[in-house]
C-alpha cells in the first residue's frame, strides 16, 4: 500500500460570527485509524468535509502527501472515499449504474465482477437493477459504502458509519473498518461509543482534546 500522510494543522471554521472549531490539528498515516466525536452540532461533518477537500476552512491547512509528493486538494479524489449523510446517489440511475458511473468519472476501469462483489458484500445485489430512488435509507447507506470502496481508496472517511443500518449491515461495516485500518487508513466521525474502539486516537470536538 502506498505510504501517505494526511496532515491537518490549525484548522478553523466559522459561520458568520460563530466559530465552530479552531486549532484542530492531527496526522493520519498508513495503518492508522482516527475518530472524531462530539455532540450534535459540534462540527464533525463539517470537519470531515474540510479534510476531504470539499469545504474550505477559514484558517489552517490540510495537506495530503502520497509517496513523498504533496497532492493538491483538487486532485485528491482518487485517494479518498467518503460515506456521509450529505452524500447522495443519483436517484434516476440504478444501484449498479451509479457504481459504473462513478468508476467512469473517476477514470478507473472496474470489472463487472468487482461491482457485483461489492454489491453482494453489502447485501444489495438483488436490488442492483432498481433505481436508487426506490432504495430505503438502509439500502442507500449500503450503496454509499460500495461507492466509497469501489476504487480501493487509501483513506476512507466515514461520517456516522453505522447510521441507518441493521445488525447485519453494522457487522459488515465493522469488518470494513477493521480491514481499512490494517490495509490503509481510516477516519470516522461518530457518537457511538462502540465504534470508538476502532480508533487509535480520538478527537473530541466538543472539548477539542486529542486522547
Amino acid at each position: 500500500m502506498t505510504p501517505f500522510h494526511l496532515e491537518v494543522r490549525n484548522v478553523r471554521k466559522s459561520f458568520g460570527r460563530k466559530v465552530l472549531f479552531d486549532a484542530v490539528s492531527f496526522d493520519v498515516r498508513l495503518g492508522e485509524s482516527f475518530a472524531v466525536t462530539g455532540k450534535n452540532g459540534s462540527g464533525k461533518s463539517t470537519l470531515m468535509k474540510i479534510i476531504c477537500g470539499v469545504l474550505t476552512p477559514n484558517g489552517g491547512s490540510v495537506r495530503y502527501v502520497v509517496n513523498d509528493k504533496e497532492i493538491p486538494l483538487s486532485h485528491v479524489a482518487p485517494h479518498i472515499g467518503l460515506v456521509s449523510p450529505y452524500l447522495n446517489m443519483y436517484e434516476e440511475f440504478t444501484g449498479e449504474e451509479n457504481l459504473r458511473l462513478f468508476a467512469k468519472i473517476r477514470g478507473i476501469g472496474v470489472r463487472q465482477d468487482d461491482i457485483h462483489g461489492l454489491l453482494q458484500r453489502f447485501g444489495i445485489f438483488e436490488h442492483r437493477n432498481k433505481e436508487a430512488r426506490f432504495y430505503s435509507s438502509g439500502m442507500k447507506q449500503r450503496l454509499k459504502y460500495c461507492a466509497a470502496l469501489l476504487h480501493r481508496p487509501a483513506l476512507l472517511f466515514l461520517d456516522e458509519p453505522t447510521a441507518n443500518l441493521d445488525d447485519i449491515g453494522i457487522a459488515v461495516v465493522r469488518e470494513v473498518m477493521r480491514e481499512q485500518r490494517q490495509r490503509a487508513a481510516l477516519v470516522f466521525a461518530t457518537n457511538e461509543s462502540e465504534d470508538l474502539s476502532f480508533a487509535d486516537r480520538v478527537l473530541d470536538l466538543s472539548r477539542l482534546k486529542i486522547g
Binding site: 470539499v54 468519472i105 478507473i108
Partner: protein, 222 residues
C-alpha cells in the same frame, strides 16, 4: 478502455436527461409556445426582416434561459453536487457540463431556426452559410456564458429569476452581434462580410471559456 473524464461527465448528463426527460419536455413546450406567440402576433402584417432577425434571437435567448441552468441546479437540488465533487476535479466537471450545454443549445437553436424559417414566410434567408454559421457560433457563445452563470445561480436562493438577470448584460454583446449577422444573412451578403461578426462570436466564446475554467473551482467548491 477509459475515455476522457469530461466526456464521461457529459455522458452522465445525457443519460440523466434520457431517464428523467425533465428538461427536454419543458424546453420543447417552451419553444413551441413562444414560436406560436410570435406567429400570432405577426398576423398578416409584413414585418421588416431586421425585426424578425431580432425576434429569432429573443426566442433562442429565452430558450437558453429555460434550459441551460438545469445541469447545475439539479445537482444542488438533489444533493449530488458533493458526490460529483468527490469523484473528479472541478475542471473536468466544467468541461463535461459545458459540452452538454453546447449540444443542448445547438439542438434547440437548430430546431428553432428551422421552424422559424418554415413558419414565417416573410423571413427569407439568402445566405444560408452565414445564417447557420451564426446559429452555431452564437449557440456556442450562449453555452459558454450560460454554463458558468448557471453554476453561480445554482448556489443562490432564487435561482430561476436570477439566471436571466445575470445572463442578459453578459450576453447582450453576443446577441447583438448574432442579430446583425442574421440580418446580413437575410440580405444575402457575401460570407466574408460577416467575418467581423464571426470574429467577435469566436473571441467571445474563447474568452468566456477561459475565464470560466479559471474561476469555476471557486464556485463549485464551498
Amino acid at each position: 478502455m477509459v475515455t476522457p473524464i469530461p466526456y464521461q461527465v457529459f455522458v452522465k448528463e445525457v443519460a440523466s436527461e434520457f431517464r428523467t426527460r425533465y428538461a427536454l419536455n419543458a424546453l420543447l413546450m417552451f419553444v413551441v409556445t413562444t414560436l406560436t406567440m410570435v406567429v400570432f402576433s405577426l398576423g398578416d402584417n409584413t414585418v421588416p426582416y431586421e425585426i424578425l432577425s431580432g425576434m429569432l434571437w429573443i426566442v433562442i435567448f429565452f430558450s437558453a434561459m429555460s434550459g441551460l441552468s438545469r445541469t447545475f441546479v439539479t445537482e444542488e437540488e438533489r444533493g449530488t453536487s458533493l458526490t460529483l465533487r468527490l469523484l473528479t476535479s472541478a475542471t473536468n466537471v466544467y468541461i463535461g457540463k459545458f459540452l452538454y450545454n453546447v449540444v443542448l443549445i445547438l439542438a434547440m437553436s437548430v430546431f428553432i431556426a428551422f421552424a422559424y424559417r418554415l413558419i414565417i414566410d416573410d423571413f427569407v434567408v439568402r445566405s444560408s452559410s452565414i445564417f447557420w454559421t451564426t446559429i452555431v457560433l452564437g449557440g456556442i457563445g450562449l453555452a459558454a456564458a450560460s454554463t458558468i452563470l448557471a453554476a453561480i445561480i445554482a448556489k443562490a436562493n432564487t435561482k430561476g429569476t436570477l439566471f436571466p438577470v445575470l445572463a442578459f448584460p453578459v450576453l447582450l454583446p453576443l446577441l447583438l452581434t448574432c442579430i446583425r449577422a442574421t440580418v446580413l444573412s437575410v440580405e444575402g451578403a457575401f460570407f466574408s462580410e460577416a467575418f467581423k461578426d464571426f470574429q467577435i462570436l469566436v473571441s467571445f466564446s474563447v474568452v468566456m471559456i477561459a475565464a470560466s475554467v479559471m474561476v469555476f473551482e471557486y464556485v463549485w467548491n464551498d
